[in-house]
């Protein structure tokens, strides 16, 4: 899904720091590792408290034992339990490397790696769940992108803390691949000046559609809901947070382009059709590479 040559530019430092911090939280969560050799448990390591007494002597049903141990230790702050045979885990991941298709890109390879991790005997993780990468349910996103999106569009994430745009992420898709990632720093300052709160999200959507000449859709929500969504450990928990926020009107999923391609909510022009028709971005004064004398988007 992520193009190898995806552009990553116009990143607002504060916004990106917030997003990255939440995305990496998944990696920092407290984990308990039970390492065994062919079923004989050798070590138990807590990533916060260090070496632990062995919770059981032998691995009989790795997944069930991981779930059970998580239930027991959750009160101590343990968020995840891994039961793994280090040698089998290594062999599984080594084998994944032999199947690399370098042209396919990183997301395909990481999904392959994920599948290999759970080869019988290698590894069991509680809570079990979908493949999450940077806190994102990757399998679900890939299905959505390949089945629901038009060939060319832009996804807009707008997270609001009160009236302020706390974080944003603009993801451009072309032929179901991510070809560009940026933040609101890519937009003209006057285009985002009036985006003061969740109810102003259509203006943000329109500004993005114009900037990238692709139809735009997006998810707009409060900081609290977004943080909860990013920190949830399973795709199911994420879905629940997402739906609750929508029902409580603390979030908007504006997906009109998914129903009517080429139309944006308040688009003064029809950027979707232009993009789909392969219009040259350089011909559009709003999207071409700016002149040296004029301030560019990254001046924001």
């Amino acid at each position: 899904m992520l193009s190898r040559h995806c552009t990553i530019e116009d990143l607002d430092l504060d916004q990106w720091k917030r997003l990255a911090s939440l995305a990496m939280a998944h990696w920092r969560c407290r984990r308990l590792f039970v390492a065994h050799e062919g079923g004989v448990v050798r070590r138990c390591l807590d990533t916060v408290a260090g070496e632990q007494p062995l919770p059981f002597a032998a691995v009989t049903d790795a997944q069930a034992q991981a779930e059970e141990l998580l239930a027991l230790r959750r009160a101590d702050g343990v968020e995840m339990v891994w039961v793994l045979d280090l040698e089998a885990f290594h062999l599984a991941l080594s084998a994944a490397q032999a199947s690399l298709d370098p042209k396919a890109g990183i997301t395909d390879y990481l999904a392959l790696e994920w599948a290999q991790r759970f080869r019988p005997g290698a590894c069991a993780v509680a809570p079990a769940g979908e493949y999450l990468h940077y806190g994102l349910p990757w399998g679900r996103l890939e299905r959505f992108v390949s089945r629901m999106l038009p060939a060319s569009c832009t996804y807009v994430l707008g997270v609001f803390d009160g009236d302020a745009l706390w974080a944003s992420c603009l993801v451009q898709f072309q032929d179901h691949k991510v070809v560009g990632i940026s933040t609101s720093a890519a937009l003209e300052p006057e285009d985002v000046r009036d985006v003061t709160g969740l109810d102003q999200h259509p203006f943000l959507l329109a500004a993005v559609a114009n900037r990238y000449r692709r139809p735009a859709f997006g998810w707009f929500c409060s900081r609290t809901d977004f943080e909860a969504w990013m920190l949830a450990h399973t795709a199911q928990d994420k879905e629940e947070i997402f739906q609750k926020a929508l029902m409580a009107k603390r979030a908007v999923f504006d997906f009109s382009i998914l129903l009517d391609r080429g139309m944006t909510v308040l688009g003064p022009i029809n950027p979707g059709e232009a993009a789909l028709a392969g219009a040259d971005r350089e011909s559009n004064p709003r999207t071409r590479i700016p002149d040296p004398g004029e301030p560019g988007p990254s001046a924001i």
Binding site: A20, G105, P292, S298
Partner: protein
């Protein structure tokens, strides 16, 4: 060569050029913006710029390169000409590897996608690196075909670069490759088991042992040729003998050799293309322990100076201080070819203004003589630089760089040198001993499995009854470091390559040694003690050399645990376990006291002299504000060089206040 490498910079036609610079990638900014960007870099206070030259970006097809004929941003000649016109000196880094956050690290796809060039892991599978937006099989740096492919690019590039080499142009040094050394995966058994690497391994054994009989004796084998000697793929397991450990240690040593060999091969290529008129340098990505060997690279790989890269966050700046402490006694020029100015977007944590402010002085605190700030000009796949992609100032960040360059002038940094009383010697033998018990690992395991589980258990007694395990050696080294920091001794860090004269500059040496050490190192340590030095060693009392034969250099030293022994004009103390009281007593009797102390032992301190001036660096490692009294003999005043506050009157102790993770610098002026 008109350019000489000095400890504090490059001497060019008799004038010193301190290497403080910033990175500006020409192909990532619009050509019409270049003049303005150069001016803005100058206004930050820099007179030296650095850039990569991306092989993949310039190559249109095999043998067909664009140096500006189609894309004006790729006109390296024009960029170098402009840099020279603007009065800049240039550091150029043509690869082949450049990383540069490009999806393919700068290699053309035709090279990277060629399976015959891939490095292989212990199971014979290609080693895959997932980085930024791509996953690719990393190339083997033992494979001649990689160098041949690169040479096609180099031969096209050389005419462009040659006319800009000093004295014809502004290019004053070339970096040979970038962060060479197993692509962030230094674990001993992670790679490289490709056929090309295994051939090089046989060659290494031949070089090391010379006689097959010597190899067979050390390994307990009966191989009929060096080609038969298998490469170890796992750490010695329970039940293994000492010969298995010797084999594993040879593999660990080979990993250092492969880096040295590849850099030597590449520097030879550079010279063969007529680029040898300026010094060559290299950068390791951060670690200075095996398989990274700065001293050997400078001695044998045709590299004039080798530095370390660092991108610390506020809370981790101490690592950069220690890197500089190491470089200042190991390298010809203690230099950071990449030091964080902003960060890449997909790192574990984005570096922000606070990080930048708290880390800028860390390398200087440790004794660095030069830094290249990567990147001073922002670009695609980067954020948080002092200048944006078109050269406009980002005020918060930019003013920090103004201040930094002003500080270098105020402190007269080109004349500064660390005033280190002690030296921590983390022997290469101890590092290799530790590495021999790595587990084989893929990048995925590196991401998911904690470091503690990526180690194999070490069978006891491989090096003799009671001999310390590698984990005990690691604990000993860490205890020596903690001791010096807490007692506020200003100290250097070194490995086994430390020269005898550099040992002599220190009042005491705390050496972490395993049961086996190189005869030359043992001889240097003994001589250091005999000539009046105070030597603390542990946790092993070495009795073997690196071939596991009896060690001659320590013969006649009747060392007993915890009992100081007079050796010549000096003294030696062996400790099986680090004992703070024993070391304190040993140093006190040797009349070694910290010159300056702080009332808070958790604050870090380093002293430097600059001309006749004494500069004091203090770092607060905590995430809360701290204050402490600075205590010295006699009356003194503290003049703020990088600190708020007034130039106050003479006292015998002075309160200082440090914000969380802050580093401050004062000039200490004694008052009679």
């Amino acid at each position: 060569m008109a350019i000489k490498v000095r400890f504090n910079g490059l001497e060019i036609d008799g004038n010193l050029l301190p290497l403080f610079s910033g990175t500006f990638h020409y192909w990532r900014s619009a050509r019409e913006d270049w003049p303005f960007i150069f001016d803005q870099i100058r206004s930050l206070g820099f007179g030296v710029v650095e850039t990569y030259v991306p092989w993949a970006v310039h190559e249109l097809a095999e043998g067909d390169f664009d140096f500006g004929k189609s894309d004006p941003r790729k006109d390296l000649d024009a960029w170098l000409t402009l840099a020279h016109q603007k009065g800049f000196k240039v550091l150029l880094r043509p690869g082949p590897c450049i990383n540069s956050e490009l999806p393919d690290f700068g290699y053309p796809e035709r090279v990277l996608f060629d399976p015959s060039l891939a490095a292989l892991d212990a199971e014979g599978n290609p080693v895959v690196l997932s980085h930024q937006t791509s996953s690719f099989a990393v190339p083997s740096y033992a494979n001649e075909a990689l160098f041949e492919a690169f040479d096609v690019f180099l031969s096209a590039l050389a005419p462009v670069v040659q006319k800009h080499l000093h004295p014809h142009g502004g290019v004053v040094a070339l970096q040979v490759d970038n962060e060479l050394g197993y692509f962030f995966m230094p674990e001993a058994y992670a790679m490289d088991y490709s056929p090309a690497s295994l051939r090089l391994w046989s060659h290494f054994l031949d070089l090391k042992y010379r006689q097959l009989a010597a190899l067979n004796k050390a390994w307990g084998t009966s191989h009929k040729s060096f080609d038969e000697a298998p490469a170890p793929r796992r750490a010695p397991a329970e039940g293994a003998g000492r010969d298995a450990l010797r084999q594993a240690l040879d593999w660990v040593e080979y990993k250092e050799y492969q880096v040295l060999w590849a850099l030597g091969r590449l520097s030879e290529l550079y010279r063969s293309r007529g680029l040898g008129a300026v010094p060559f340098f290299h950068n390791f990505y951060g670690p200075w322990t095996t398989p990274f060997n700065v001293a050997d690279i400078e001695a044998d790989a045709g590299i004039d100076f080798c530095g370390l890269d660092s991108y610390p966050h506020a809370e981790g700046a101490l690592a950069a201080v220690d890197q500089a402490r190491y470089l200042s006694v190991t390298s010809r020029l203690a230099y950071f070819p990449e030091y964080g100015a902003g960060s890449w977007p997909f790192g574990f944590k984005v570096r922000d203004l606070h990080d930048q402010a708290c880390t800028m002085l860390a390398p200087l605190m440790g004794g660095a003589r030069g830094l290249n700030f990567y990147m001073v000009v922002e670009r695609e796949r980067w954020l948080g630089s002092p200048l944006d992609v078109r050269g406009r100032r980002r005020e918060g960040m930019a003013s920090l760089f103004d201040r930094f360059n002003a500080f270098l002038k105020d402190a007269d940094w080109s004349k500064a040198s660390p005033m280190n009383q002690g030296l921590l010697l983390h022997s290469r033998e101890a590092q290799q001993h530790e590495a021999a018990f790595d587990r084989p690992a893929t990048f995925a395991e590196w991401r998911f499995v904690p470091a503690e589980l990526r180690r194999s258990p070490e069978p006891a007694g491989l090096l003799g009854e009671g001999a310390p395990l590698a984990s005990e050696e690691r604990a000993f080294y860490e205890a020596t470091r903690a001791y010096c920091a807490e007692k506020h001794y200003s100290f250097s860090i070194a490995d086994s390559a430390v020269a005898g004269d550099r040992l002599q500059r220190h009042a005491f040496v705390l050496a972490t040694l395993p049961a086996f050490v190189d005869e030359n190192l043992a001889r240097r340590l003994r001589r250091y003690a005999e000539e009046g030095g105070l030597l603390v060693l542990g946790p092993a009392r070495p009795g073997l050399n690196t071939r596991f034969e009896p060690l001659r250099a320590f013969e006649g030293l009747d060392l007993e645990d915890g009992k100081p022994l007079a050796v010549g004009d000096g003294r030696v103390l062996w400790l099986r376990r680090f004992d703070e009281k024993a070391v304190a007593s040993f140093l006190r009797k040797g009349k070694v006291f910290a010159d300056t102390e702080l009332s808070d032992p958790t604050l870090e301190l380093a002293a430097h002299k600059s001309g006749g001036r004494l500069l004091l660096f203090v770092r607060n490692p905590h995430d809360t504000e701290r204050n402490a009294k600075v205590q010295r003999e006699g009356k003194f005043v503290l003049k703020p060089l990088w600190a708020s506050g007034k130039f106050l009157g003479a006292v015998e102790e002075r309160d200082v206040v440090l914000a969380p993770h802050e580093i401050k610098v004062w000039e200490v002026i004694p008052v009679s």
